[in-house]
């Protein structure tokens, strides 16, 4: 029972306290890709902790004396003949925690497939209606509203509207296209789908809400960084400003703000003289990401718990 309690406390800390602290700190903006990994590590760690809590609640005694071998057995690393899965308690002991872990996983797969269908439909229309530009490596849509977006996935497309072409200078345009290419190359849609699914399954959880919002913003920053490797910061920053202004002018019915403060934060960050994160910080973060999923099993299976 102590193990269940310890795991539940851990899940509460990861689910409620950690997201507030992480969302409030400054370092994620300096190393957005690693910060996204930390958010995903927290999400994974929370799910594992919840599954293990369930496991310990259903089967309170087994782990009292099994220690490390119990951990291995739980992880399916040993096909132990003594594994008490045949008893009357066996089925719920596996089924309950397994479903806690599997439901988000299945929903994620479902979400990825659904999004792929939506994109395929969009691409089907796009390929007939848009004009492909070999020079821009993008599809041009003949529409006045300035817009630039990408369809990630197996047959990716970068789309830019005629309105955006009119507003942006060639350098600005190239930096915007590079930003979109970064989304595709980095497979950012999968990271987004993961936090999106998690937020739907655990709607009430602060971690879920923060992970979704922060991942979206951090991925934009990661794409900005990649665009800035090849293009001057002034070009990307002024393009952001021009596009935002142009879009607002075309907004149906005036103002509906969904952008939030993200764009201003991104703009300031683009123009700031780049402060590279300290290698030690990156090392620590990588260790945290690797350690997060391992913590709950260690906590649950520690001898004496």
């Amino acid at each position: 029972m102590t193990a269940a309690l310890a795991l539940a406390c851990y899940a509460a800390a990861v689910g409620v306290v950690a997201p507030k602290a992480l969302a409030g700190s400054a370092w994620p903006h300096r190393t957005p890709a690693l910060a996204v990994a930390v958010w995903h590590g927290l999400v994974l760690s929370f799910t594992i902790a919840l599954a293990l809590t369930t496991y310990h609640l259903v089967t309170p005694t087994w782990h009292l004396h099994s220690g490390m071998s119990g951990l291995l057995r739980f992880c399916g690393l040993t096909l132990d003949a003594r594994m008490p899965a045949t008893g009357p308690i066996g089925v719920p002991a596996i089924a309950a925690p397994a479903s806690v872990a599997l439901i988000p996983l299945v929903r994620f797969g479902h979400e990825v497939l659904r999004a792929r269908r939506v994109r395929a439909r969009h691409r089907g229309v796009l390929d007939l209606v848009g004009r492909r530009s070999a020079r821009l490596r993008a599809t041009v849509l003949d529409h006045d509203t300035p817009a630039a977006y990408c369809l990630p996935g197996r047959r990716p497309r970068i789309v830019v509207s005629a309105g955006a072409l009119r507003l942006l200078s060639p350098t600005q345009l190239e930096s915007v296209l590079e930003h979109e290419r970064a989304h595709i190359a980095g497979r950012h849609h999968l990271a987004l789908a993961a936090t999106e699914t998690f937020a739907r399954v655990f709607r009430w959880l602060p971690l879920a809400r923060e992970a979704r919002a922060q991942t979206a913003l951090l991925l934009e920053m990661a794409a900005d960084d990649r665009a800035l490797r090849r293009h001057p910061r002034q070009a990307l920053a002024s393009a952001l400003c021009t596009m935002a202004a142009g879009k607002a002018a075309h907004a149906p019915g005036g103002a509906f703000a969904v952008g939030g403060p993200g764009a201003v934060v991104r703009l300031r960050r683009m123009l700031d003289v780049r402060r590279r994160p300290h290698p030690a910080l990156c090392g620590v973060l990588a260790a945290v990401v690797a350690g997060l999923p391992l913590l709950p099993p260690l906590l649950g299976c520690a001898p004496g718990m």
Binding site: L141, A216, M243, A248, V258, A263
Partner: protein, 122 residues
């Protein structure tokens, strides 16, 4: 090797440009001015487009005449609506360079850009 989708686009391009019911023969003749294409190929692709709901067709004499269901502008507008996320379907991951925002936010952006411009001049 051209893909079938390219031929679909070529057919739609012509029908949208001409804005009148058109026979497969007319389309074939027009494409043949640039490159050779078989009548049967165009006929097949036209009926694929019909089955997909892109084209309407009617019998005129012994031949079918085809016309687009909707104009290019209507499809474009629908795509943009889809893409600009009037629905908040994030995970379809039509991630934008910049989201739609209100006038106050846009002026905050401008201010930040100007401030940075002054900093670099100073």
């Amino acid at each position: 090797m051209r893909r079938l989708g390219d031929l679909e686009a070529e057919i739609m391009d012509r029908l949208w440009a001409w804005q009148r019911p058109t026979t497969v023969r007319e389309i074939v003749d027009d494409i043949n001015e640039h490159r050779p294409v078989a009548y049967t190929t165009v006929m097949t692709v036209a009926s694929i487009l019909y089955n997909k709901g892109w084209l309407l067709r009617a019998k005129e004499g012994r031949a079918w005449v085809y016309s687009p269901v909707r104009s290019r502008e209507e499809y474009t507008a629908a795509l943009m609506e889809d893409a600009l996320g009037t629905s908040d379907d994030r995970s379809a991951a039509l991630t934008h360079f910049v989201e739609q925002m209100g006038p106050e936010e846009v002026s905050a952006l401008r201010k930040a850009l100007r401030a940075a411009g002054r900093r670099t001049e100073a």
